[in-house]
Symmetry: C2
DNA sequence: ACAAAAGTGTTCAGTTTACACCCATGT
DNA sequence: ACATGGGTGTAAACTGAACACTTTTGT
């Protein structure tokens, strides 16, 4: 039955094994100086009370990324956010309902922009570092996505997606410290980001702080995109 | 029909959309100072004469990695080789036979160890840089896997998997130059690898060269694994 | 005046780059 | 002896890490 090769002889798939395909979104946010992830309480009897990622079956007329954006939209109302596919998870018994292969995505959202759609109690932001157990293999998926994010954030300035449009350098540093789980030197951190030259000085200051207010900056996404496009092109 | 969430309410998948799942292997080898990839000629009418990756449907009782190793074994006879999952490709019309979602893996093999199983003409090694067109979306898949390899090889010494057990530093350098598509300085290259301290001096020399013979080295995989385990543990 | 966090430069160490000559072998 | 690639060291430039005091605001 499986002697034919998917890339050569196979012209009909109807007689072949098929599995349900889902996507799972690891939706990261940043709040209270902590990296958070949006989870939903599972009510499958096997995982009663455990938290799970937000995911869904991929529809027949959807590609994977479309499905991931759909889930994100349905759960957070957000459309244009940073998202990256991480990898597939296809363990034999990862879903009690049968063979379900899932493709994991992570996305970076401004947590202030998220209005949890259903005002139910089932959706919650959790500090990544405090999560102990999860439903399915979601702890693995989260760990893999978190590692990927850590890796990404030191190579490219994607962290801005987790911050408000206007932010102080202290907030930016707190973000990096939270994601990478390290302490960074304030002067070196500032030096580095000013040198990268993607920060826009907004000539504004923090309000309502009971100490010297910090200056606010924005991220020059266009400038970053252009400079990065150049280096890809060649 | 799709109102239920895969991670919460769903207890039966039988009524849901399912797709065929395949894996595709990008099998890299190194020969004649070029990075090669093992391809098969597709005889699907849509891709007549085009080359495709080696892939197959994932079986019901196999996880993804098992399927990938099976394909590798069936096509090359090799068992213990370096392999890494890259990502899933799930475009709507990527396979003419229907919805097929594929998970891409790349592996690094010693090209000398590969005895092409079927001594047919359908399987061939191709220089990666010369490949123009491929069947399906395999050009995309190859490009993505190649980029991943380029990235990986500057972070971790996985390149050794493409070389024979005994190799000269020139061969090693040629490998890196081929993968990264750059010219490297010979002295700096040597300095760097000796400093990493994973090379074993075999006290042997090249034979049958018509110039000064190069010394041969081996890669100390155990030492690398141990030192790398440490840094993960903390 | 005090508390609390913002802002700012310099030095040192380690790493990366650039670069040219002699050596061992086969013909 | 010559052609071919093997093998080697040093100086300059750059990058990353360590480190302490002054400034601004609110109370």
């Amino acid at each position: 039955m499986y002697t034919k090769n998917i890339n050569t002889h196979l012209t009909e798939i109807k007689d072949y094994f098929k599995a349900a395909i889902s996507i799972d979104c690891v939706i990261f946010g940043f709040d209270e100086d902590e990296l958070k992830v949006l989870l939903i309480e599972s009510d499958l009897k096997e995982f009663k009370g455990k938290w799970s990622l937000l995911g869904d079956i991929v529809h027949p007329d959807e590609d994977l990324e479309t499905a991931a954006y759909r889930v994100l939209r349905e759960r957070t109302g957000l459309e244009d956010v940073y998202m990256e596919q991480v990898q597939a998870f296809g363990g034999l018994n990862r879903h009690p309902a049968g063979r379900v292969i899932t493709i994991a995505y992570y996305s970076l959202v401004n947590i202030q922009h998220v209005e949890l759609k259903t005002h139910s109690n089932e959706l919650h932001w959790h500090a990544v570092k405090d999560i102990k157990h999860m439903a399915f293999d979601h702890k693995d998926i989260l760990a893999t996505c978190y590692q990927r994010l850590q890796h990404k954030v030191i190579e490219q300035p994607v962290g801005f997606n987790l911050l408000p449009k206007k932010f102080s350098l202290r907030e930016l540093q707190n973000l990096y410290e939270a994601i990478l789980d390290v302490k960074l030197d304030r002067r070196n951190f500032r030096k580095k980001f000013f040198a990268m030259d993607y920060l826009i000085d907004l000539n504004e200051e923090e309000q309502e702080v009971r100490h010297r207010p910090a200056k606010l900056y924005g991220f020059n996404q266009d400038k970053y995109n252009q400079q990065h496009k150049k280096s890809l092109g060649f």
